[in-house]
Symmetry: D2
Subunit: 344 residues, 4 copies
């Protein structure tokens, strides 16, 4: 079977495994105070162009979202997200578990619009009863979004302006950050992205690591005692070296960007294979997640040899299906898919 | 420098690294639905002698404690622990963060006594105002304890009886389980331990793994939808294979027990080195954590080459100091410590 | 000024004040163990036709909602509500504060539809990723709704059937229960309503009391140790007598229903005044809340002497405005309003 | 039966009932925006000598404690209290329910000592692992304490100094504040008390009101949007007038202090009755709670006509028993008790 189900279905970049083996018996302190974490933080500060940035390594995405969001919100505040946002839909209520409401606004293929955000905030403060309501305290967006789409620099800048106007912090979920930045359609680099938000994370789990997300507060603006908050949320890894080594490796010699670009190249190839096969696209995604529309017959036929996720059902009986490439996708896998598509 | 600070200061057993490399490009589903997790669960069920056991893999200890405790308690219940228990002291309030109180009873070198537990419960239900108080719903103990001590089969049986009498569940924190079971002074094996509690976990992080704790509900008595609760608590690893591979390896051919026994052998050797050097013991620990009393001069002298943790200050100016062995401790490290002790 | 802003803008029924004065120096136990609470519970059990019902007195509506909902949900569950539901909009995130998500479905003038509820549940369980999502555990509806509308017996029965089919409990927020039951358009009485849900409350604050809501578990199905949960949520009144006396009075000789009917009569009169004045209705409400559409000039003119709430802005510049009657509304107030409407 | 069980076993001061009746049909806004609340706040600001104080009215003590504490603590902080503190023992875990740990230090007849508080804080920050622990963020004390004892001005000043040194806020639970301030042994007045803490509350429930506690932030230092936090915690009374009227009345013409003094006078009389009867005191309390030691025979005999609370059991078979006076205690009740004591 060939799997295009997701970008976390294999292990790690060989470079990471190599480095883990190499350093395995070096004795280092726990909880992220090891020299690997130190080095990784220095490399990330340089990569994001923020010498004063605070950097923390957490283990997974849902954990990172709920820890960052609850640490940055006041008790009476909630977080605004697209109604398709990961925190709203697929995190089992992890944000609410910390006591905060997710406030939703419309999603446009996964993205929110600055003008709709602004309208939401205007309506909120115009409501006579707003002091009986959850205050918006933060905006959460994902880059790329859950639908593989990207914010342009202009779109992000305008969202940021609305946030500043209303005193909201802006948090970018970068679980697939590399696949966004390396997209040919992205007009944002890592420096620019860092300058346009209050906090973001660089996803490792989906971009070459066994696990791990690097949270960056570009302005050195981490909440006080954020280390203790991470511990309290069960998000502190005892062997922090596991995260330090991985991110140190990913940010050595541009590995993170190189493997992200590979996934984008594979996605481009995938798109062209679908085009050639006459498959309809559900969304025009410039990143590593591709959403196409298949008939029941096509699904049945492909599934004998290929794994992918059913995303949604259309009224006409066809299905929206997600195919995902990653740093580990091979040309051979794509060729085989092409052959199969030709016969179904 | 040689470090005896803790049992999580190096990487993983070579067998684990080997297995990670070997399986690295196998495509597998995420979130613990991979074949490695399946295999690991089967091996653990066999090792604990409970064919119906529910097994879940989480990433770290604090996370596991707060997830298990909050999933098993009712909203109005708290968890009883020794006043030195890890959840009471060193988890940054992770249990309280989930809304539950830790109810403390006295610690005897890290252990609670069945009779004191019983007295606590009798007093609680004798109090006219008990409905205004937090109901005891669970007992938390650690095996070995935070002081390296062990419950005997009889002690554990009596605690279990009190729990049954008062309708409390019994949870055993096994972050260092291997080092307890493999102690020469333990009269409990894994089957017996599993039969004497409602839930426990088999620590991986401190016993040979990069990360990971295997939660076991021996009677198949996991709370409903515990998977979703794990996700909600940010404790679900996307690449569950990382945990599956590690535990599958640890429970193949008795590796977990073999490396645990090695740490115990090293601890025995360490004890005899301290004895020979005339160092006073603070606690007579049968496991891999040893607590000795050093003078300021001894500490200063040793610290040039050896790392260890200051545990407590004594009124006479000396310090309680913790030395920890692990699966990775070498005879060479011990020999060097012996030489250094001879000169300080 | 005459106020139609809400149904909690004056004190209490004279009968209640009289009874408070009469019993003022009687010494009684605290926390709801007084004889007034006992008597009130007996009267309520009789009024709802459930001799085994568990009855608890809480102080206010938001408090009651969050206490009941969090006590009845499992940790991984959320509560389904109309997107206009009070718990979703105007309780400052009190439900999320207890760790639970509010799951919204469309609102039809404040009501949810059984078929849309069912569709939501079908979609949830059809989703391959549902174990990563918040489980629906309860349905919350209000009777009357926030828009003054009512569920018919058939509508409520069908919602109940869906709940039973999917294992959800059904909770009815009865903050204005009397005004619903006494509406001429209601085909439900208190016995029937009680038989169609798992828990509901009889609103006192908005129906003649100084404060207080009577929570009823018709089947004696209160969660274990609900008293302690109430205390934990800060919702236990020390002088429980204050609640007992009020509900005992309200449920003596049908006072609760009589004063509710008065508010309905006044609302009917109010409607006819608006009709005569040619005012457009925004919703056809059969209860004590009336929503009409006023021009800016009408609003400006009326506001010199009359208080009411602006509910929403229409695109054409007019406003949706809420007028509320209560047990205390007088014919004089309505007559004056009629005069004013004639001149604006 | 005569009850000395507590200070909340009757209704309210006649002045309050009178005022409630008098204002009953005045239409006023809800949620504390009425003119009674406004007036009451002005009177309280004057009584505490803090013209800029923020004042909020909540309904009960446990609710007030958990709302204030959780609003003022950061997420990673806990609150220090005596191990006998009300929040630690008798609030069903309401503080933990909001996610915060109660950190206990020794109790000396209900009081904490500045030097022990300081020692606790020194130990905390000297601990190498303190970042893995709950940070102390606030000190909670009660005045009078749960044992009826009082802090002197010097004791309170020294506690305050330690708080300032370590950046902790100081919160005084004044559920029985009047009975403390009016004690003949108190060397603190309300101005001084207000100047020595960051927040405190003036208890109404136990001092003449039907319900209600007035939270005072002397320096106008209420947390941002505290109104919304109150709502979120289910602690906002819709008919805020009920609280406004009561506190306005209590702080008119010194009523609060006059009735408090009456309770103290009755307590003095009670003490002298016990002395005359040769009853042993458990604590020498200068306030309205008296703790005496009775034999089983005395208890059995008295209980035929008198209600009181068993507080604790002594090893010799006798019991610690609490007798409480209040604003409503009468000389007749005391005389009857004296007669009964003479015969048992």
């Amino acid at each position: 079977m060939i799997s295009f189900t997701c970008d976390y279905n294999v292990g790690a970049c060989p470079e990471i495994l190599h480095r883990l083996a190499e350093t395995n018996l070096d004795q280092e302190p726990g909880y992220g105070e090891d020299r690997f974490c130190e080095s990784a933080k220095a490399r990330i500060r340089e990569a994001v162009g923020c010498p004063d940035a605070d950097v923390f390594f957490l283990v997974g995405g849902t954990q990172t979202n709920s820890t960052v969001i609850s640490a940055m919100l006041k008790g009476y505040e909630g977080v605004i997200a697209a109604e398709t946002g990961h925190i709203e839909v697929h995190e089992a209520g992890a944000v609410e578990f910390t006591g905060h409401k997710v406030l939703t606004i419309p999603s446009h293929q996964g993205k929110i619009l600055a003008e709709e955000l602004k309208a939401y905030l205007e309506r909120f403060y115009a409501d006579e009863a707003y002091s009986h309501m959850v205050f918006p305290g933060m905006v959460y967006i994902s880059f790329p979004t859950e639908y593989g789409t990207l914010y342009s620099q202009e779109e992000l800048t305008r969202i940021r302006e609305v946030c500043l106007q209303y005193g909201l912090s802006l948090f970018i979920d970068g679980a697939r950050l590399g696949y966004g930045l390396m997209s040919r359609e992205s007009d944002l680099d890592l420096h620019e992205l860092a300058s346009l938000c209050d906090v973001f994370y660089i996803g490792g789990t989906k971009v070459g690591a066994l696990c791990g997300e690097a949270v960056v507060f570009p302005g050195g603006n981490a909440p006080a005692h954020f280390f203790t908050t991470i511990k309290q949320h069960g998000a502190l890894l005892a062997k922090g070296r596991l995260l330090g080594i991985q991110f140190d490796t990913l940010f050595t010699d541009g590995l993170y960007f190189r493997i992200s670009r590979h996934a984008i190249d594979m996605a481009q190839e995938l798109k062209s294979i679908f085009h050639k096969a006459g498959i309809e696209f559900y969304i025009d995604s410039p990143t590593n997640q591709q959403f196409v529309i298949l008939t029941p017959n096509q699904i049945e036929s492909l599934r004998k040899e290929v794994l992918f996720e059913i995303w949604d059902q259309l009224p006409d009986g066809r299905s929206v299906v997600r195919f995902v490439t990653s740093w580990a996708t091979t040309k051979e896998q794509l060729s085989r898919l092409e052959e199969l598509l030709a016969t179904c």
